[in-house]
């Protein structure tokens, strides 16, 4: 069933699909970045495929994958705090983004992959096709730092705005800790705007947490 799906996409977009394989029963196709939106639009709208459900967008970092020098998991040890990209080899394209699509009527699934080189981590947004892609792309941006061009509000989803770096990249130091942050400003919906910059009463940004009594260097 899914094999026929891959054949269908290959016939429709012979230039876009660069490779395809099956991983433990899941059909995977790798498409070029320029053709990503039209391939996914076809998969969503064509009555043969009818993939109305975007199950997940995932980012993957292959920095330590198949690397002879480090091997997987070596960065998890405390002895290797940082990965020096200039000295140690890594695979290119280093990243890929996987879109897991599913059809609720046909009951078939397909994974669409887009490879990204480490020097150019931009790819088109598919928020115009799937509403749920909004938060998934914000999540991938938060964890991996990929820029989804055309996204309406590409900000961090899980981490806080002051956070530096992207924690699921393999070169993010495992033991790195960042300082605690003050409370966010948010508008008071009941009492309306007040004298403070953030809303009524005392602005929340004045309630600093931990800045005085926590030493960020004390983590390591």
């Amino acid at each position: 069933m899914s094999q026929a799906l891959v054949e269908l996409v290959r016939e429709k977009f012979p230039e876009a699909v660069t490779s395809w394989h099956s991983h433990r029963g899941d059909e995977v196709i790798t498409v070029r970045r320029e053709n990503l939106v039209e391939v996914i639009r076809f998969l969503r709208n064509d009555p043969q495929t009818d993939m109305k459900l975007l199950r997940q967008i995932a980012g993957v970092d292959l920095l330590t994958f198949k690397s002879e020098m480090t091997g997987g998991g070596a960065l998890a040890s405390i002895e290797v705090p940082e990965y020096d990209l200039r000295k140690k080899p890594h695979v290119e394209p280093r990243y890929y983004v996987a879109y897991n699509l599913y059809s609720l009527t046909k009951h078939h699934a397909l994974r669409v992959r887009v490879d990204l080189r480490s020097d150019d981590v931009k790819l088109p947004s598919i928020t115009s096709l799937y509403r749920t892609a909004d938060w998934w792309e914000r999540y991938v941006y938060d964890m991996f730092g990929f820029e989804f061009t055309g996204h309406p509000n590409l900000t961090r989803l899980l981490m806080y705005p002051e956070f530096q770096g992207h924690p699921l990249r393999k070169d993010y130091p495992v033991r790195k800790r960042q300082p605690l942050v003050p409370e966010l400003d948010f508008p008071d919906l009941i009492r309306g705007p007040g004298p403070g910059p953030g809303g009524a009463g005392v602005p929340m940004s004045q309630t600093h947490v931990g800045r005085h009594n926590v030493d960020p260097d004390a983590y390591d």
Partner: protein, 217 residues
């Protein structure tokens, strides 16, 4: 004043010559405040101690806790609260779901960096006297969440009185932690703020009048 017959000798450091460290300075004799005032202080101290003990007894047996439940430790909190383990036997009867009415903040679960301002705000909203229990290893030390998102122990945000280990802790451990906290509450000094201030003022006026009489002012 130093030759007054009813004054006590107290030890004061002599003025050192040159740059002598404070630990090597020699103590010398000097005469100070009359004995009568010391007895008054003693009696007030006795009263304060008993009052503090009574307040401690009352406070340790009526701990209203605010459960700040963020993770799976909440299940063990429910177990400790409900009939089988029944934390109400130790006076911790009512969970108050507003920090303004609570004495004990129970941090039940993982605290991450994004959440720590909320925890700080909840702690600030509690009225004095207040105590904090870190419930489980995540609240105590971060537990096995040794990563970018988790605060490595709630004591990096607010002061913690008692740490209950376990992942999650057994209800018996929670009760044990509560007993330890009760001992702490009983033995610490409770200031009855208004009474203490009144006594201080009274003491000051009496001191002044005594000294005034003695010194003929």
């Amino acid at each position: 004043m130093s030759d007054h017959p009813r004054s006590l000798p107290i030890l004061k450091p002599e003025k050192p010559e040159g740059n002598v460290p404070e630990s090597q300075q020699v103590l010398g004799l000097e005469y100070e405040v009359p004995v009568l005032t010391t007895r008054l202080e003693e009696s007030i101290g006795f009263f304060e101690k008993n009052l503090s003990g009574a307040l401690g007894w009352a406070r340790k047996n009526s701990i209203f806790q605010y459960p700040f439940v963020t993770a799976c430790c909440g299940m063990e909190y429910m177990s400790a609260m409900s009939a089988r383990y029944d934390i109400a036997r130790f006076g911790a009867e009512f969970p108050r779901f507003t920090p303004r009415q609570a004495d004990l903040l129970m941090i039940v679960g993982t605290i991450n960096v994004k959440q720590s301002p909320v925890l700080k705000r909840v702690y600030d909203q509690m009225t004095e006297p207040k105590w904090v229990m870190a419930f489980g290893v995540c609240a105590s030390s971060g537990g096995f969440y040794d990563n970018y998102a988790t605060v490595q122990g709630a004591d990096r945000v607010i002061p913690v009185d008692v740490y209950v280990p376990g992942c999650p802790p057994r209800p018996e451990q929670v009760l044990d932690g509560l007993k330890i906290l009760q001992d702490k509450i009983q033995t610490q000094l409770h200031h009855a703020a208004t009474i203490e201030r009144a006594l201080d003022m009274e003491l000051e006026t009496k001191k002044r009048s005594f000294l005034g009489k003695l010194l003929g002012k």
